[in-house]
């Protein structure tokens, strides 16, 4: 079979479109954000991407109907706006390093064919501890994008992320740069322990300024509350530690 099987429903005619990627990853921040964008902007699916680099697996929906795991692209046409949008979401990223490269390369070529010159990739930046108010960290392909992003509240912090960016969010930037495309990665801080709607919202708040769209976040806020409830319940069921005597000098 073809290593990557691309099945178009239509090839949309778009105005200087921006590609926005949100695939599964740390805290599923990118996936949550991109799916929220698809919902809010009533984006239209135009292509299914299947591949032997994904797990050999079907998902089963609530009616018992199967769907081969895939990645999908949606478009948003916006009358009068400077930029239409393409949103890339999916069930999985490529399973192997070379699969990751092959998929990113293909996505970029599809995007170029549709006229994409600018890419935003969305992801989480795992801190390994609970985050009260997540910052949004940035990384860019070209230097002049740094001040523009700083203006919108993005943090550029020396040495963060120290280990670089792994997976689709990194490759679309890095390989896209080799192909002459401009790009920004927006990373919402997250514990990395749970799916993190709060970090997704932080990322989208930046992105909505870039894209000049208004987004309703009540869905994500509901999800964040549910997660908060869950995590606080988990805390309650943890065995309570009795204060140790030596910590309580004033009792004597």
């Amino acid at each position: 079979m073809e290593d990557i099987l691309v099945v178009y429903k239509e090839k949309p005619d778009l105005t200087d479109p921006i590609l926005i990627e949100g695939l599964p990853g740390v805290g599923n921040v990118g996936k949550l954000a991109a799916e929220h964008l698809v919902d809010q902007l009533k984006a239209e699916k135009f292509v299914d991407i299947y591949s032997k680099y994904f797990p050999p697996q079907v998902l089963v929906d609530d009616s018992g109907i199967v769907k081969l795991v895939n990645n999908e692209m949606y478009y948003v046409k916006r009358d009068g706006a400077k930029h239409d949008m393409i949103v890339l979401i999916g069930d999985y990223q490529g399973l192997t390093p070379d699969g990751q490269y092959e998929l990113a390369d293909r996505m970029l070529k599809m995007a170029q064919e549709l006229g994409v010159k600018m890419i935003f990739t969305l992801g989480g930046y795992g801190l390994g501890k609970l985050v009260e108010k997540p910052r949004v960290l940035g990384a860019v392909s070209h230097e002049d994008l740094v001040p523009k992003m700083k203006e919108l509240g993005v943090t550029f912090s020396k040495g963060e992320p120290g280990s670089g960016i792994v997976g689709a969010s990194g490759l679309l930037l890095g390989l896209g740069k080799v192909y002459g495309m401009r790009s920004v990665c927006l990373m919402g801080e997250t514990s990395g322990y749970f799916v993190d709607p709060k970090a997704a919202q932080a990322v989208l708040e930046v992105l909505s300024k870039v894209l000049e769209v208004e987004l309703d976040f009540s869905d994500l806020e509901d999800k964040a509350e549910q997660i908060d409830l869950l995590t606080s319940k988990l805390k309650d069921t943890e065995p309570q530690q009795e204060p140790r005597k030596e910590d309580l000098g004033y009792i004597g």
Copy 2:
């Protein structure tokens, strides 16, 4: 070498054939069921499928004769019936995700060439606990297949299987759907701890209604008894737990 080496003994001329897959998996339910079908219907082998996606291994039979591990297809011609059958069995599934995809793709193309439009894949649904009377869960490619399967006793249960279907039984459905084929996966509930002839029989009882064939299950029932014997022996050798006092209120 060719990635997949297909050696035909003959290319049968079949009437609107249905493909039935039963490869090794959870509780070997699908394999047991499909092999029982081959035995009972005196199906004729017509093709050997070797591949570098299988283990690099030969099996040795009781006379000392080797056989390279493979997958095999059998056919059943049925005078006057609406559908002939093709049964796919084998020693192994593909070892890697991409091998799984390549093999499923090839099987589907071979099936299409033989006129297959409908596929049944057989498997086990592992519960991680002993099952007294296994249900048969279903998943389908197209919505109209759900009520038809329900009529034959198949259970469609929201959220089951929650993690989707992995391997050949899933891929033949999912990839087949992309290629325009209709399909059903029948999953017999099983502990997953042992090969499970009882679950295989449950699956075949549904399938025999679909195919309008009568099957003798005494072989599978014998095997099930042997397994039951084995598992009950295992229980006996487990250290006996003394009844705990608090369980014995009536003694107090």
Copy 3:
């Protein structure tokens, strides 16, 4: 690069040659046996086989000269004998299942080109315990080879080896059979804990009858003695267990 890089020093003109394979494996039985054959028969190397399926590694000899790890074929021309010989030895087997298949396929095609119709593969049969007098187990491609091998002292034992034969020794038989070649695998019983010259000798004693050659085994016997010495020393350095009091009732 080519997946398998074959560098011929010469293409020998051989009379109905028999291929003998001995690559690293359980107890290195096959490798020891085939290398001993090369030494004793003063076989001539005629081809180097390099491959990306081997480890990315060079070996360094005692003078500091590197050699890329490889497989090699040697030939033995025998005036007046019915069969010349080709001996396949090497540093490694393929690292991955598909690499194993690709390599075995290539070796078989090289062998066919040189006129090989019959293959002997040599290996160890790991028992997981020390073996006093190793039997030589057999597995064959065609039924009529069983009685011939039994006559030469080879054991064919129902259910042994239960898990089949994995790796080059298995694949050359199984894939060779698909390609119409006849073959025998000779497996010397071994603990599998050490390299096992004794098992190698047992295998060669059978093979020398097949090939009608006389072999001097003093080298292998020396090695076997060294191994015996080593293993008995290991036993001596094990902490001696003092007899426990409760075992010594007669002292009471």
Copy 4:
């Protein structure tokens, strides 16, 4: 995408160039040495090598600019010298054995195209213990290189390195030899626990004699001091072992 994507900035015209490789490895000895060479000789980058055999990752510099992980070649033109130089450095080696082979093969073909006939690969030889004064071990493609290297202080020691040389430093020698190229591997002894500038300097001291260049080592010496400081601090923070009574017989 192409498995290996080579992006030339220029194709330099070089005089009988020598290729020097220093990629990440044990103690990062080769990488440190080759990067030091690039700095000291103000070498000019002329090509970027990207590949799906590297991790799917971008690095982010202190300004927030991404760079797809890669290997790079630099050249040094030297007026009047017999040999110009090409230095190969990079973020990673290939992740898989076959990736290692594909990359080494490609590097060698690129080098041959630029006229390279002689290769030096730089690496560490891990001892698993702290090394006061690291020796430089050698391995070569052709016997006549041994005395030449011995003259320059390189040690050739029977049985070292016992397990051969794994990775790019080994493959460039071994595969290069198959392609008719001459080569030397210089291995600086290192504990392998830390990046080891001292071992890198030892390797460069030999190489500077071969290349007839003068190198300033103050940078490496500074780094070595920092490492020394760090390791001695680590020692100090280890829990101090109280002398056990039985060790102090003279107190008794």
